[in-house]
């Protein structure tokens, strides 16, 4: 079986500034990829392009046999890509249940897991999303994403703001999803979280890929050390 997701030479420009500049990678079904790099290296922009929030200025994205780089977000969601956000984007005036209902009502695929049970949200279903704390809101973002039954999940800075136990439980959950065949791209600052999830990372800098491989080799790579890890991390 070939690549499930094939990103080819995508770029995204803001004014004269290239946030993503000719990035290419492939991903198999059920594979987890870590996307790391310093602030402003283009990780989140990459996620935004993949999820249709930005149209790419160049390059192509092929997913499950379809070219998706010109699709609007709602179609991308319909064909099975979903995501979470660095800064949670819940529907603040709706309850947790209603938040998930919005996604369920428009879902085109059967969810692999029941998002409410899977993420243990039963206790807060009636609360307004606006009253939740950040960790809860991030979980709710994930629940909405899972409700659409995604085949590719883009996870943007999910561990930031979670305590160690929560992070660990989240790791288990993501691994479980990947066993179910969900491909996952994890954008993350917290390298231990990435490390627990996958061997394969792409290190980005200034919109470009500077390294691909496992995290340990990344820490030994001179270029990576120079721009990001500062020599002694991991």
């Amino acid at each position: 079986m070939g690549a499930f997701l094939k990103v080819d030479q995508i770029s995204k420009r803001f004014g004269g500034f290239y946030a993503v500049n000719g990035l290419s990678f492939e991903l198999k079904q059920g594979e987890i990829l870590g996307l790391v790099g310093p602030n402003g290296s283009g990780k989140t922009t990459c996620i935004n392009v993949l999820s249709g929030i930005y149209a790419a200025d160049g390059g192509t994205v092929e997913f499950d046999g379809k070219m998706i780089h010109t699709m609007p977000s709602y179609k991308i969601s319909n064909i099975g890509i979903n995501r979470t956000y660095q800064i949670p984007k819940c529907f603040h005036s709706l309850t947790v249940k209603e938040n998930i209902d919005v996604a369920l009502a428009h879902a085109k695929h059967k969810p692999q897991v029941d998002p409410v049970e899977f993420l243990e949200l039963q206790g807060i279903m009636g609360r307004n999303a606006g009253t939740l704390n950040t960790a809860q809101q991030k979980t709710l973002d994930l629940a909405r994403a899972l409700a659409t039954g995604p085949k590719l999940l883009l996870v943007d800075e999910l561990a930031a703001g979670l305590n160690p136990e929560e992070t660990e439980s989240m790791t288990t959950k993501l691994l479980h999803l990947s066993e179910q065949g969900v491909s996952i791209i994890v954008v993350e600052h917290l390298l231990s979280f990435v490390h627990a999830l996958t061997k394969r990372v792409i290190v980005m800098n200034a919109g470009k890929q500077i390294f691909e491989g496992d995290l340990e080799s990344a820490s030994k790579d001179p270029l990576v050390n120079q721009v990001y890890l500062g020599g002694d991390a991991v």
Binding site: Y74, N78, L94, E98, D101, V102, Q136, D141, R144, A147
Partner: protein, 315 residues
């Protein structure tokens, strides 16, 4: 949920039946007509602002377009009344489609842009070059079709339809997605909602409601000037009534209209300045002290209660 819907539908039916019965007890049909009309108009605003967050400051543009579409269909195309009403609505929807690029604007930009478009429509209609079609500044006279009773009942039918429509929208997943859209248009799209299409649908529905009101109003009074059907305050009244009652609620616009339009008629008739003053002061007080409307007073009590029950620790 189901029970609540039945209750809401029953209240709406009682409301419309009350309006059917009222002319037997109260002779001023114009006030009753206007009250029903403003209920429909402020529901139209409610649909757009209450559910999607767009504030149609120039809502009257659609109202006037409906009035003129209707009159032109009667005068020049010699349509029967019902067809002319439909023509008015279609004409307004067309205007809505033409103006739809405005939806790309947000917040105050949209409100001001919308206000400007209503003035442009007014300027075009009232322009002397179009005297042959619109009658220009001399106004429109369709008094041979004058029938206040019939137009009143048609307005009530529209009121009923709009009420049922609002109740459906509020209860449906479509309505839920609109509310979600207002909170966050990015993540609602990621939930699979076609934001652009939904927005357009609501915009056109809201425009059509205003156009229909304008058309029936034209029929009801049967003689009018461009300045009277493009009076910005018609749209603003609708907005204020909606805000006063409670935005995004089913009965807010109805309650707002009954209370405020009632008050206006008590104070309003004699001197326009005092009326304007009172109405200005009222708006200021409303925004300062009741930004979420009268209905929020009841809800606040309920919500606070709910929060206590649900605030057990989670996670």
């Amino acid at each position: 949920m189901r029970k609540q819907t039945t209750i809401d539908l029953s209240i709406s039916l009682v409301l419309v039946l009350a309006f059917v019965a009222l002319p037997h007890f109260y002779s001023n049909l114009t006030i009753l007509f206007m009250m029903a009309m403003y209920m429909v108009l402020s529901q139209g605003v409610n649909l757009l602002y209450g559910l999607t967050g767009y504030m149609p400051f120039g809502y009257v543009g659609f109202f006037g377009a409906g009035a003129y579409g209707f009159s032109i269909a009667l005068q020049h195309l010699h349509f029967p009344i019902v067809l002319a009403l439909i023509f008015g609505v279609l004409f307004t929807s067309l205007v809505g489609v033409i103006l739809s690029p405005l939806l790309r604007l947000s917040g105050a930009y949209f409100a001001i842009g919308n206000l400007a478009t209503s003035q442009v429509i007014y300027g075009i209609v009232a322009n002397s070059h179009l005297q042959g079609i619109t009658g220009g500044g001399d106004g429109v006279d369709i008094s041979q079709y004058f029938n206040q009773t019939a137009s009143y009942y048609v307005m009530l039918a529209v009121l009923l339809v709009v009420m049922v429509g609002i109740i459906w929208v509020k209860r449906s997943s479509f309505g839920l997605s609109l509310q979600a859209m207002r909170d966050d248009s990015v993540s609602v799209a990621m939930s699979g909602v076609n934001v652009v299409r939904n927005r357009m649908l609501v915009w056109l529905a809201s425009a059509a409601i205003a156009g229909l009101c304008g058309a029936i109003y034209a029929w009801f009074i049967s003689f009018f000037y461009p300045s009277s059907v493009f009076d910005v305050s018609i749209g603003i009244f609708a907005i204020v009534f909606m805000l006063f009652g409670g935005q995004g609620t089913i009965f807010g616009p109805v309650i707002g209209t009954i209370i405020l339009y009632g008050i206006y008629n008590v104070i309003g008739v004699s001197t326009p300045q005092y009326f304007q003053l009172a109405y200005g002061v009222l708006i200021v007080i409303l925004v300062m002290f009741l930004p979420n409307g009268v209905l929020s007073l009841f809800k606040r009590g309920r919500r606070a209660h709910g929060r206590v029950l649900e605030s057990r620790p989670n996670f």
